[in-house]
């Protein structure tokens, strides 16, 4: 049973930025200063999408925008661009979440994978149009594939450790306005 109390909602609204900070922290550890062939998955994106499918009310738009912008700034990405695309992806998934409430995980994974692909490819396209020098395509592709593969892990971690579960229809009705 998912907890629908307002207190829990506010706690989880604080947990998401904390999770983002922890992910940024591990990215920033000066462990590999040698360029790598592979790029690691963007776990923040996977977590955000997994949460948006389950509990859109945990991730209001300002919170998402601020968190993604901070990640952009901290991880030396062009500020604002990936944040914008990730925010749009999250809003798309929130709108899908209402329809997909009772479908299987495969369907959810497909939608999330599509959104992740769109975020990475549109970002690359826009950077190209803006004339920003970019890294090799192989890095983007590996980050994209690994993020899609990491999505079920993000879902499992969210469900088991953080207890972010999908609402049943009855609970959704009970939540009413707050959803």
């Amino acid at each position: 049973m998912a907890d629908t109390s307002p207190a829990r909602t506010w706690v989880m609204r604080a947990v998401f930025p904390a999770l983002a900070l922890a992910l940024i922290f591990f990215h920033l550890l000066p462990l590999d200063t040698v360029p790598r062939r592979m790029a690691p998955p963007d776990l923040l994106l996977a977590f955000a999408f997994a949460w948006c499918f389950r509990r859109p009310d945990f991730l209001p738009v300002p919170l998402l925008a601020a968190t993604f912008l901070l990640a952009d700034l901290a991880l030396q990405r062009p500020p604002g661009l990936q944040a914008l695309l990730a925010l749009l992806g999250c809003e798309y998934i929130k709108s899908r979440a209402l329809h997909l409430r009772d479908t299987s995980f495969a369907g959810e994974w497909m939608s999330a994978g599509g959104a992740i692909t769109a975020v990475f490819l549109v970002q690359r396209l826009l950077l190209g149009l803006a004339g920003v020098p970019q890294a090799q395509l192989s890095l983007t592709v590996s980050a994209l594939l690994l993020t899609i593969l990491a999505y079920p892990l993000a879902v499992a971690a969210s469900q088991s450790l953080l207890r972010v579960r999908r609402l049943t229809s009855a609970e959704a009705e009970a939540m009413g306005d707050r959803l």
Binding site: I24, F25, H27, L28, L29, P30, L31, D32, T33, V34, P35, R36, M38, A39, P40, V61, P62, L64, A65, F68, L69, L70, L73, A74, L75, Q76, R77, P78, P79, G80, L81, A83, L84, L87, L88, E91, A130, V132, P133, Q134, A135, Q136, L139, A143, E173, G176, D177
Partner: protein, 305 residues
């Protein structure tokens, strides 16, 4: 129930959409401003990180230490093999050390004979690496010294052996070093012994490319690559690495600095090379100067006495 939901959409829906629109607009404008006026936004980014990262330092240092410990532990497994390698390397090194000592003495003697004064301006500040760029697409590290310690943009960062990169972005107590391997890095260099000038351009791989080489035939793998001091970015003569050829036949630099373990970096204080701009008043009179020139006052007294 259904009526209830549609009723709810009536007023929260547009509001949420408005909020989303405003957030998107803000993020897009941040990106556009960054594209137009990159230095200002990068300065802002440096200030944000200057606030955040030093606060994380208490946690970062032990975690990094622990991870390195695990790595060291893994390397214990091939300890015997390493020992053998090290011993043979040590024998070679002793021979080199003897040669180096003799050369050092000879060098000192020659410098003394020639009255050469070594450049006293090349002092350095040492900083500790706090964080890396956090992204596989950018190659940079964050140091724990910043504007407070007099660090300025453009100064060279070296480890004990070779050039590592340049300062690009300083906060109050942090400074970012753009590594030579970053795609945005380009350093004018000279290749010894053929004296060919080239540009060392990073491309997100371990060995940066050698670009704009005048005459490729005169450069062989194993040649030394030094900074040339062109463009007044770096002081001349800092060791970068050795020329190597990759399987595609392109020339690259095998970097001398140990990029596996960037821990302490030296930031060389560099206040620009002095260049000769005027033609020299002795040879050609300065434009508008009276001729003959008046005798300097200091000299008249000395002459009288």
């Amino acid at each position: 129930m259904a009526r209830d939901r549609s009723h709810r959409d009536d007023y929260t829906g547009p509001l949420k959409r408005l909020l989303t629109g405003i957030a998107c607009l803000l993020l897009a404008s941040v990106f556009i401003v960054w594209r137009i006026d990159s230095p200002r936004v990068e300065r802002f980014r440096a200030q944000v990180l200057d606030r955040i990262v030093p606060n994380m330092d208490w946690a970062m240092a032990p975690v990094t230490g622990a991870a390195n410990l695990v790595r060291d532990f893994q390397s214990y497994q091939r300890l015997a093999e390493q020992n053998r390698e090290l011993r043979s390397e040590l024998r070679q090194m002793q021979a080199w050390k003897e040669a180096a000592l003799q050369l050092e003495q000879e060098n000192a003697r020659l410098l003394d004979l020639n009255n050469v004064r070594l450049d006293p301006k090349l002092t350095y500040v040492t900083g500790v690496v706090m964080a890396d760029s956090g992204s596989p697409f950018r190659q940079s590290v964050l140091l724990n010294v910043g504007a407070r310690d007099g660090i300025r943009d453009g100064w060279a960062a070296m480890d004990g052996l070779g050039l590592v990169g340049r300062i690009s972005g300083t906060g109050k107590s942090t400074a970012r070093v753009l590594l030579l391997t970053d795609a945005a890095s380009a350093v004018p260099a000279v290749i010894q012994p053929s004296q060919q000038t080239a540009l060392i351009k990073g491309d997100n791989t371990g060995a940066p490319l050698i670009d704009f080489l005048e005459n490729r035939d005169m450069v062989r793998p194993g040649d030394r690559v030094l900074t040339s001091g062109d463009g007044e970015v770096f002081p001349a003569g800092l060791l970068i690495g050795q020329v190597a050829e990759d399987p595609q036949g392109r020339l690259r630099v095998r970097l001398s600095a140990d990029y596996e373990r960037l821990e302490f970096l030296r930031i060389l204080r560099h206040h620009g090379n002095e260049t000769v701009r005027d033609p020299g008043a002795l040879v050609v009179p300065a434009p508008g100067a009276t001729w003959p020139r008046p005798r300097p006052e200091g000299l008249t007294e000395a002459g009288d006495g």
